[in-house]
């Protein structure tokens, strides 16, 4: 193997040093994303969208709060998906294209560390974006309800779930970008996002198919693809229903496990990629 992967490069004695390297890459990835005007525009756009929801609420026959929560959380998810996919697929590609990757990898940095740092950098960017959007939504709710409303607090567990979903999707985008072009990676990641919300149908198909092989195929797809239905709590949140604590923990655990798998697979593929 030409390049050491994360597991090989990080020996017990060098955990802290490796962590610093990952942190440095993450910090740079975050800075780069923050410098990207598209991210700023998206945040401003979402805030404007939430402001628009205030006016939209006036024609909803007393349903302002519900509509603002629906619209705000949906916007957070939608724009987060765009950021996760379009920035995620370009994370590694841009470094190769600008040939800065060679300079980075010529230093004592493993490919796994590089990928992990890039991933964490984008996750940090998403965290900041989601937090700002959530804050904007909370303020919009306070404005509409002319004061404090329990919904202001109740939306945050859902925002957390949305963030986990976005973190998984970022991992998916990175996985595809490890072996494919950015355009194709974006398309594939978007398909995974769509299919991930059809997981209930995949399970139904798996049980309703006539032949055993087709049942196995669909059952395999159901468990293989990310189950984004775990994070679908926007509609319930708009009715003031707080996401169940155990479901949130399970969702976070599932997210961590799935992200781990995605990053490991990305590292494996990227380690074998010929960059010459």
């Amino acid at each position: 193997m030409d390049y050491p992967n994360l597991a090989e490069s990080v020996k017990p004695a060098t955990y802290i040093v490796a962590g610093r390297r990952v942190f440095a890459i993450a910090r740079n990835a975050f800075r780069e994303a923050v410098r990207d005007r598209v991210l700023y525009n998206l945040v401003v756009f979402v805030l404007l969208l939430i402001a628009g929801a205030i006016f939209l609420g006036e024609i909803s026959a007393g349903q302002e709060a519900k509509i603002i929560v629906d619209l705000g959380l949906s916007a957070i998810l939608l724009f987060g998906v765009f950021i996760a996919i379009f920035v995620g697929v370009g994370l590694v590609y841009k470094e190769i294209e600008r040939r800065t990757l060679y300079a980075i990898l010529s230093k004592p940095i493993g490919r796994g560390e590089f990928l992990l740092g890039k991933y964490l950098g984008l996750c940090l960017t998403l965290l900041v974006n989601v937090a700002i959007m959530g804050l904007g939504l909370s303020l919009a709710l306070i404005y509409v309800q002319r004061g404090w409303d329990p919904l202001v607090v109740r939306i945050w567990p859902v925002i957390f779930l949305i963030y986990i979903e976005l973190a998984i999707l970022t991992g998916v985008a990175m996985l595809f970008s490890a072996f494919s072009s950015p355009a194709l990676s974006a398309l594939l990641a978007f398909f995974v996002f769509v299919i991930g919300h059809f997981s209930a149908d995949l399970k139904t198909l798996a049980t309703s198919m006539g032949t055993a092989p087709s049942r196995w195929v669909f059952a395999g797809l159901y468990y293989l693809l990310p189950n984004f239905a775990n994070y679908n709590a926007i509609t319930a949140a708009a009715h003031g229903q707080v996401a169940d604590g155990r479901a949130m923990l399970a969702g976070a655990g599932y997210g961590l496990a799935y992200i781990g798998v995605l990053l490991a697979a990305t590292t494996l593929i990227f380690s074998r990629r010929n960059l010459k």
């Binding site: 909803s60 026959a61 349903q63 509509i67 919300h197 984004f228 926007i234």
Partner: protein, 302 residues
Amino acid sequence: MKRNFFLVLVIVVGLPAAALLTHWNEQHSRDPQVQFADEQLYLNGPAMKRITLAFNGVAADWYWIRSLQYVGRKMVAYEDTHTGNLDLNSLSYLDLRVLPSLLRMTTTLDPQFLEPYYYGALILPTLNPDEAISLLNQGIAANPREWRLYQHLGYIYWQRGDYNKASDVYAAGAKIPGVPPWMMAMSARMKAEGGASQSAREMYTHLAESSEDPTVKQMVKTQLMRLDSLAEREKIRRVLLDYTHGRGHCVTSWREISAPLFAAGLRIDASGEPLDPTNVPYHLIKNGCDVDLDEHSALPRQ
């Protein structure tokens, strides 16, 4: 410099030109919103719910606003072409044929969104009572703890004269913890009285108490006056009948029976004519043998 001037000129001229063309286009083409206003929805609720992925809540809001605007546009169009105001009792003139589908779509996308059920319970009974019942049953299946849905469903059954079903629905709603005690009382009264005016009065009163909508409160006020008027006309008919039995002919003017009418508890004006709850005198019909509302009365006839 010259190029910049040209570009600025393009912007300055281009934007107003685009606005003018949009305005011209609006004036000379059919409004697509009007054109397709009554077109049935292409997709059914379950299909739409799948397509909208995690965005079913915001899609439900969209269809909800569309439902409100659909009814609103129809009302404005009706009032533009007819004299007098439109009230909830005459919504059947509006031809709201797409409304059931819009409400069904909204509630399928977000089954816990209660307002569309309440809205449907108010408007659909005059257009399509079966659709109203079906929508409320769907709402109860998705929200079995919402007693107001049972209240609305019971009301619709009562309006249809199906007192047993109304009683059953009220009884089912009364089992929900924390429900007002009158739900069970309504069930019992429906069973016992078969929709007598006292029950009607109670239902209207409770409906007004449970709604914040001024249109509903106005409707309840009108319906309560209508119930008063029905009771008054019944009293007048008895007085007219007594007079006819005694004299062998019907009355020629209200003055002839003003004393017994007053004794029966009716309000009489200076000329001896009995007044309806809107203070308009009742009208003698059938050559003085029967009574009806005056044409100037604001009370609904049915």
